[in-house]
């Protein structure tokens, strides 16, 4: 360490010398190149600023339009067409909470299970395993409205025949975000080095014991991050719910298997947004604000989780 400290100033001098030589050479570039460089850099910065301005404008506009409707009534009151000034999102919020609870119940075991199979067991030279892989990547990009059609034809009616109930909506959303969970879980599992597995197997553990006691615990932060991001996607999804029954103007608290209808936060926002009156537009904007706050909190938590518990091997 003593020697390192002594050479540090010398290194710094050498670096500074090299840099000034290079910069002097670069300064001799043809003038047109310098201008072209500056214009190019400016255009790139402009692109970033446009994207960020779009995000900023969206948030500011929701606040400007919705601030008049921001009150506790927004959360505690049911929607009302007669008294928009007292209307709120209560059944929609309760519906959304139940929907995502159902999504988690389904997606965590199935998603992690599928990821474990593909990462720990599957032989990727077999065609059927490659098929599953490509299939999952494709499913992640299938339009959400197609999942709505699947929910309508397969879950609400057809083979499962659940009817227009909240649980059917929940299952539809779960299938929609399942590929996201599988892909994120696979990445988390892949980050665990093989030496951990080899060490465990060498000590006589079976493959499942290795997974249960070594691989899974080490990858939980990554999996949790993926699950949170998937749930936040499910929370904001509107289109498939329109097809599987969440369209009615619900004024009571929905239940998972109730046949009287249910609502969800984004569907209720959509419903308000369609009404031209100023009061309903304000309600829609206020609902968007509430959702943005919730989603931002969830995403920040996911990023924090990833950074806090990320293991470096």
């Amino acid at each position: 360490m003593e020697a390192g400290r002594a050479t540090a100033p010398r290194n710094r001098l050498a670096v500074a010398g090299a840099r000034s030589t290079t910069e002097a050479m670069l300064r001799n570039q043809p003038r047109s190149d310098v201008i072209r460089n500056a214009v190019f850099a400016g255009l790139l910065l402009l692109a970033v600023l446009i994207a960020l301005a779009g995000l900023l404008a969206l948030v500011i506009q929701a606040f400007a339009k919705g601030s008049s409707a921001l009150s506790l009534d927004l959360i505690t009151n049911p929607p009302s067409t007669a008294f928009p000034e007292k209307a709120g999102y209560r059944p929609a919020i309760i519906g959304s909470l139940q929907l995502i609870a159902g999504v988690m119940l389904f997606v965590v075991p199935v998603g992690v299970g599928a990821a474990l199979y593909l990462e720990e067991y599957a032989d990727s030279s077999r065609w059927w395993n490659r098929l599953v892989e490509v299939n999952i990547q494709n499913l992640a990009a299938v339009p959400s409205i197609i999942y709505g059609i699947l929910g309508l034809a397969f879950i609400v009616r057809g083979p499962l025949d659940l009817g227009f109930i909240l649980a059917a909506g929940s299952l539809t959303l779960a299938l929609l975000v399942l590929p996201m969970v599988i892909i994120a879980s696979r990445e988390a599992l892949r980050a665990v080095p093989d030496s951990i597995r080899q060490g465990s197997l060498a000590l006589g553990a079976t493959q499942w014991q290795t997974i249960r006691t070594q691989v899974l615990p080490a990858s939980i932060p990554g999996i949790a991050t993926g699950v949170i991001l998937a749930v936040s996607r499910a929370l904001g999804e509107t289109a498939p719910l329109l097809l599987v029954g969440a369209t009615v103007f619900v004024t009571f608290d929905p239940t998972p298997f109730g046949t009287d209808g249910y609502s969800a936060m984004p569907v209720q926002i959509f419903n308000y947004a369609l009404r031209p009156q100023e009061e309903f537009q304000a309600l829609a904007a206020a609902g968007i604000l509430v959702m943005l706050v919730v989603l931002l909190a969830m995403n920040s938590f996911a990023i924090w989780l990833r950074n806090r518990y990320e293991q470096r091997w």
């Binding site: 970033v48 779009g54 969206l58 299939n135 990009a141 059609i149 079976t206 991001l229 968007i288 943005l292």
Partner: protein
Amino acid sequence: MLQAESKRYGERAIKWLLALCAALSVLTTTAIVISLIGPTIGFFEIVPADDFFFGVDWTPQFEPPSFGVLSIVAGTLNVTLWGMLFAIPVGLGSAVYLSEYASPRVRKTVKPALEVLAGIPTVAIGFFAVSFILPEVVVPLWPDGLLGGAEGKPFLALAAGLGIGLMVVPIIASMSDDAMRAVPRGLHEGAYALGATKAKVATRVIFPAALSGIVASIVLAISRAVGETMIVVLAAGSTPKFTLNPVESIQAMTSYIATTATGDISTGSVDYKSVFAVGTVLFAMTLVMNVVSIRLVRKYREVYE
């Protein structure tokens, strides 16, 4: 891959249970295809395939109804075209900036901001498109009378297009950024050593080297734009028109599905079946684009990783 085939029944049962979870994804695809195909065949028993695939009038509510799908396909392409004209330059510009120009500190703030944009519910972007982009951006900036003018129209394809563009910018930016960062450092340094300027390195060396990943991001973005529902429902209107004119109210495939298949539509009706026929077209279009995108990503991964 480690394989320790065990004689224990429990171990094997677990393997099969996990395989079942993975198989469920194939089952989902199969279920999607089955649920689309059945009613679609039923639809073509009533409406001739010629009229559907080559017709340009989409008027299911008229008597007799007309189901010319090109009309709503054009609606989707209209919105997608204007959306991508916005999203490709903005997204690629952001990607090049992030991977080649931004300091680590700027990168650390801009990248999460773009991730936030990617996580915004589309119903919120749709609301933004119809209540801000349309009245405050498109109408004031659109030249008077050009292509019929934008003034006084409650829905515009261009407003929905810009909303969709905003939605897919993070996809293009982050996927292309990943692709460009996967280009080996040596290529940068070699180019700099030969005296290339920063702009030249970015456009002539890194960009071509990452091209398959960049194209993959654009194809995936187009697939997302074609499948997007809430933004077009809220901002593009519901009047099917066979046009690419940005200052018209149009109807996209997704918005036909979303507005028709709600409420108490009866299972046997032509309208019900038409939803599935349109869904099949939409699924086929996005499937092709997704497969192309997946292949392209795999190509650059093979080259550099």
